[in-house]
């Protein structure tokens, strides 16, 4: 992950500005960063980061 992309993600998360490309938590599916990570040799740290932490779920009481 480059510094520029890291900062862009941070800006987006903090609501400070737009971010180019898909945000963290982008859905898993054809063409998504996570699926790209699975299809690649697993060497892209940014894609792996997205996949590992893409765990939205609803755990209502």
């Amino acid at each position: 992950m480059t510094t520029a992309s890291l900062l862009a993600l941070l800006m987006s998360l903090l609501g400070l500005g737009p971010v180019e490309g898909p945000p963290l938590g982008h859905p898993v599916g054809a063409g998504s960063p996570a699926s790209t990570a699975r299809e690649s040799d697993g060497s892209d740290p940014e894609c792996l980061l997205l996949d590992d932490h893409h765990r939205r779920i609803s755990n209502g009481f």
Binding site: L10, L13, V28, G60, F61
Partner: protein
């Protein structure tokens, strides 16, 4: 720049936002009480020990029954910053027994909560097919937008996009309008369900 700290901050934000703990399915005065717990879970200063102590205090005061106490403790155990999986598994077993002992008019809802918690645990441990079974059981016991959303998110996670779209169409035709509206809002809001947005009316 401390990149590790920056990474940790980003991932904490993402994980916390990705872990939803709605109280909408809870009936009666316990809903308001659990909303207090929910606020602790979603707050920026979340502290698991404080949250557990607060839950036990609510139980001691008679404001939460044993089923909901165990549910709340499970929800805390599954919080991204806690991730105490053995504890979460133990608690959901206790919750099931407590629900059976309590019985009464809320038995189905309480068991739906148990199935949902088991599904969440399986999902978070990467067993998505197992999670789908539990979420489906929870949905059978309790038709709610939350349970539907979990089923759809898990189908998409498994790569079963066609099945997810088919289910969504069936839901639109056969489920109550209020529930469908709530689900549509989830699809528009939730990045995990974004693949279904093209199906939105």
């Amino acid at each position: 720049m401390d990149y590790q700290a920056l990474f940790a901050r980003i991932l904490k934000s993402v994980d916390t936002a990705a872990y939803q703990t709605p109280v909408t399915q809870v009936e009666g005065p316990q809903r308001e009480v659990l909303a207090e717990v929910q606020a602790l879970l979603q707050g920026p200063e979340f502290d698991a020990e404080q949250a557990r102590a607060h839950v036990r205090k609510l139980h001691a005061e008679g404001r939460l029954d044993r089923v909901k106490v165990l549910s709340a403790l499970h929800v805390i155990a599954c919080h991204p910053s806690v991730a105490d999986w053995p504890e979460a598994a133990r608690l959901v077993g206790e919750q099931e027994y407590a629900a059976l002992e309590l019985g009464g008019p809320h038995l189905e809802g309480n068991l739906a909560s148990v199935e949902r918690h088991r599904g969440v645990l399986a999902f978070l441990r990467g067993h998505h097919a197992v999670a789908l079974e539990y979420f489906t059981r929870s949905l059978e016991r309790e038709r709610s937008a939350e349970n539907l959303g979990n089923v759809l998110a898990t189908l998409l996670r498994l790569g079963d996009e066609t099945e997810a779209r088919d289910l969504l169409q069936q839901v639109r035709r056969g489920f109550p309008a209020g529930l469908v509206s709530e689900l549509e809002r989830s699809i528009l809001r939730d990045p995990d369900l974004a693949l279904l947005r093209s199906e939105s009316p």
